[in-house]
Symmetry: C2
Subunit: 130 residues, 2 copies
DNA sequence: CGTTGCCTTGACGTCGGGGTCAAGGAATAC
DNA sequence: GTATTCCTTGACCCCGACGTCAAGGCAACG
């Protein structure tokens, strides 16, 4: 199959495939006329990359998975290096989620406070004995 | 005060201050020699911007806060437009945190599965009747 | 007078993941 | 022959928030 068909089957643009190739993620054979030629294993490579990208992995982080597949393993995460990436990503996600929750709380508190000040005037006052 | 002092007091670079000015966030008077001259109110502006930036707000999102301060209000969030930004940000954060938690779960599940396959072989087997 | 240090504007670089031409070659249909 | 479609490489464009020069002006010190 040529680049256009692979692109359509994988749901990406041809530009994206050439970009992956330029990053050393997608190996490419050439036909006699210079056209890129791909097989079904290349489709699996691209699908693996897209799956990880959808999870928010950077392209470089997909490299161990790609190399694992290219080494003949049944899945991209059949190799220890891929599992390490999973673990690092989990740790990153935990940190990030924690930070975002903290920010959410702080922004929420600011909103409540600012709303109260807009409605009730700047000075905090006690309802008791009003 | 000149740009160097404001930068140091606000904990940002002079480049950053000029950038804020170029975005119309930081108004600037000039001394006779062309130097930028700032007052303490400008320091408060920059601090407001930095606080929001630390929360992950984009520069454009800080504009209502900045304009609120410049209009003479006691705080950047003393104006309804600022509260709207708070509310939009909260909604964005909720969506983002939800997505990240979903990704975290999926990646975690992949890790568990892949670890099991690495240790126990590819075929899922039953311990009973071993 | 020179040096140092802060200031000015302008312009290009960075990072990631590609999008979007442009100019031309190749295969196929008619 | 020519129209169409796919393919090739190369090159510039995008976002955001600045970093990093480059070339030169201004102030103060000695």
């Amino acid at each position: 199959m040529r680049i256009g068909e692979l692109a359509e089957r994988a749901g990406v643009s041809t530009r994206t495939l050439r970009y992956y190739e330029s990053r050393g993620l997608l190996p490419t054979r050439r036909a006699g006329n210079g056209y890129r030629v791909y097989g079904d294993d290349d489709l699996r490579l691209v699908e693996q990359i897209r799956t990880l990208q959808d999870f928010g992995f950077g392209l470089e982080e997909t490299r161990p998975f790609v190399e694992c597949l290219r080494a003949g393993h049944p899945a991209g995460d059949s190799c220890p290096a891929s599992l390490d990436v999973y673990r690092r990503k989990l740790a990153e996600l935990d940190v990030l989620i924690g930070e975002l929750r903290s920010v959410r709380e702080q922004v929420g508190a600011q909103l409540v406070r600012a709303e109260a000040e807009l409605r009730g005037g700047p000075e905090p006052r006690c309802e008791l004995g009003g």
